[in-house]
Symmetry: C2
Subunit: 85 residues, 2 copies
């Protein structure tokens, strides 16, 4: 694997798994007051779009990364929607 | 432009601009208590990686989208780091 690919995979790994600590934090604390609802609504829809795009171009890295991110972003979105300040 | 490309651009648009309401919300309210520091640390580093990847493969869509996301994610990260509950 060349350096360029390595940077790509490393970046994909980080931007995908970044949502693990956020989903965990939101789930555990139920503190959603500083989390933006429009952000997670737009982001979840966008990630769903990426997943559909991945299926259409038959790209497993896009499908796998966005499936994980979609679940995590939807957890935060769900907690935010059901959250009462 | 075919349907596949259209879905790709639409998804890129959403996942990039999703950080506008979050950065705006965090900046305006200074309420960062529900925002995960490890998330924004990992995410900002990952987006920086995507930006470097975009420069290396000379892809303007990747460069533009990730430059915008990097600025917005770094605003949230900065506010979180300097935030006192």
């Amino acid at each position: 694997m060349n350096t360029t690919d390595l940077i790509g995979y490393f970046s994909a790994f980080l931007t995908t798994l970044a949502f693990v600590p956020q989903a965990h934090h939101s789930w555990k604390t139920r503190d959603l007051s500083g989390v933006s609802l429009p952000m997670y609504a737009m982001f979840s829809l966008g990630v769903l779009g990426w997943l559909i795009y991945g299926v259409m171009i038959n790209s497993w890295p896009i499908i796998v990364a966005n499936s994980i991110t979609l679940v995590l972003a939807c957890v935060v979105l769900y907690l935010k929607v059901t959250h009462r300040d």
